[in-house]
């Protein structure tokens, strides 16, 4: 016969856990339509969230690519002789926040031009109007402006150019997009949680009597709670299957379509793997989270027997 323990022990026996699993699965079947309703709610939510995540992460990537592509083009004045150029190079390399410095003579510049725009430019080989150039990259995009200023103050620098203005506007735009997306995702998650907790509440109301009896014969709150929480978990898991499938298929097609078009460009989409696995895992986790949290919240008040 049961020996009276001094404390309610929280460690659960394996067969009890097995019982909880059985109960939660039974309950899914018993509540057929309600199960279907909440799984659908989770499915729709996670699908939208998944698509948002795809878009946002790629926007982020684009922003990063653009940021990293910003170069400071420093034109060397004609008066500067070889010694000054070497001096300048060491000076720029010594600045804080400089990642790389590439020197390109005006002859090389002209060759680039000819390569890009055609042979008409080879006429200029007679009298090259271009200047020698230092291409400087900052370690952090945010440092670009400071580095540019510093370089412009060097002796022998004619002019400094870096996409000022345009880049900032793009960044503000991308940032706004990111924040709006985040707010939308949060709103969607709350809606799904609310829907799940309502569904589970209905199944709990139907089983109130049972909960009351469980409590009266000495069940602990966790004993009552766990089957419901597991049920929520199943709802979340089931609800994440279709979104994961669709998001994977969608992104597979997008990358297949875009990859050849973007090859060699500075802007690249995120690679299919491992990105899509991370997104799938995220969708799965979110499904489980909203399921578990939804049922946890709705069972609370029924345990006060």
């Amino acid at each position: 016969m049961p020996v009276t323990k001094l404390e309610v022990t929280t460690d659960m026996k394996a067969r009890t856990l097995a019982r909880h699993f059985r109960e939660s699965l039974k309950s899914l079947g018993r509540n057929g339509w309600m199960t279907f309703a909440s799984v659908s709610a989770v499915t729709v939510t996670l699908l939208l969230v998944g698509v948002f995540v795809l878009i946002m992460m790629n926007l982020n990537k684009v922003a990063e690519d653009l940021e990293n592509d910003v170069e400071i083009k420093s034109f060397v004045s004609l008066e500067a002789d070889e010694a000054t150029v070497t001096q300048m190079e060491t000076a720029i390399k010594g600045m804080t926040g400089v990642e790389s410095v590439v020197y390109s003579t005006k002859e090389a510049e002209l060759q680039d031009l000819v390569l890009d725009f055609g042979d008409e430019f080879s006429l200029f080989e007679q009298s090259n109007p271009l200047l020698d150039v230092f291409y400087v990259k900052a370690t952090e995009p945010q440092q670009t402006e400071n580095v540019a200023k510093e370089i412009s103050q060097l002796e022998g620098i004619e002019e400094v150019k870096y996409g000022e203005g345009k880049i900032e506007k793009l960044f503000t735009f991308l940032n706004t997009g990111r924040n709006v997306g985040l707010v939308l995702i949060l709103a969607l998650l709350f809606t799904a949680m609310f829907l799940i907790s309502n569904t589970i509440r209905i199944t709990i109301v139907a089983r109130r009597h049972e909960i009351e009896i469980m409590k009266l014969v000495g069940a602990t709150n966790w004993f009552v709670r766990i089957p419901f929480i597991l049920e929520g978990m199943w709802l979340g898991l089931l609800g994440s299957i279709i979104p994961i499938g669709l998001v994977v298929a969608l992104y597979y097609n997008i990358t297949e379509f875009a990859e050849p078009k973007l090859s060699g460009e500075m802007i690249q989409l995120l690679d299919f793997a491992p990105f899509i696995y991370q997104v799938s895992a995220l969708i799965l986790l979110m499904g489980v989270f909203i399921g578990v949290w939804g049922s946890f919240m709705s069972i609370r008040k029924f345990l006060r027997v």
Binding site: K5, V8, K13, H209, I213, L216, V217, G218, T220
Partner: protein, 228 residues
């Protein structure tokens, strides 16, 4: 066993259900709780398994001070007490065996032990042959016997019954009473709230009459004492 000292209970709506009650019940006693409706019987009973808390005063059950017992330890108290209700409170989708086993599953008893003990108590209440039937297939008296079986399956020291014969015809009521007598004979304390005058007057035990939240009479071997 059960001890109440100056127990006072006021509900949030202002009704005073118990007005400084003092009582002591020893292990193995059989006690009827009688009195008019709304006199505090139900509150008295509900406090035993801590569905209600005293507003003030001290209350000991099985050596546990109910005022000091932590919320998370309430299940422990309830495991030492069996409760029988007027409306049986059986789970409709479980069969007879499962309904009784439920009380042991909840306390994570071993499966072999559950089986053995459930069959034992079903035998005691004379319904072993109906173990696979569902509550709806049984008569009221049989359902109440199942609920008695459930209340004693984890060998509690006290069985508390709230009008256990209230929904039964006289004949089946006697069956239930005989069961309680047998349970009591094995040393279990029985606390039974009832309106059944005939039972109280026939099977003589200690009678506690509650009126206006106080004990109006406490008499061993007393009679029901109310008209109708």
């Amino acid at each position: 066993m059960i001890q109440m000292k100056n127990v006072y209970k006021k509900y949030p709506n202002g009704i005073v259900a118990l007005n400084g009650m003092n009582v002591e019940i020893k292990q193995g006693e059989f006690v009827y709780i009688v009195g008019p409706s709304g006199a505090g019987k139900s509150t008295f009973i509900k406090m035993m398994y801590r569905e209600e808390n005293p507003t003030s005063g001290q209350m000991l059950v099985n050596g546990m001070d109910l005022a000091k017992i932590k919320r998370k330890n309430v299940p422990l108290l309830r495991r030492q007490i069996g409760v029988v209700f007027q409306d049986f409170k059986l789970l409709p989708r479980l069969n007879v065996y499962e309904n009784v086993a439920f009380a042991l599953e909840v306390i994570e008893e071993k499966p072999e032990a559950i089986r053995k003990r459930v069959l034992e108590v079903l035998d005691l209440v004379g319904l072993k042959h109906k173990a696979r039937m569902f509550p709806r297939e049984l008569s009221g008296g049989e359902q109440q016997r199942i609920s008695v079986a459930r209340s004693i399956v984890n060998t509690p020291k006290v069985v508390i019954a709230d009008e256990p014969t209230g929904n039964l015809d006289p004949e089946t009521s006697w069956d239930i009473m005989n069961l309680f007598e047998r349970i009591n004979a094995s040393g279990t304390t029985i606390l039974m709230a009832t309106h059944n005058r005939e039972i109280v007057n026939t099977m003589r035990h200690r009678v506690i009459a509650i009126e206006g939240g106080l004990i109006a009479r406490d008499e061993v071997g007393g009679d029901y004492g109310y008209e109708g």
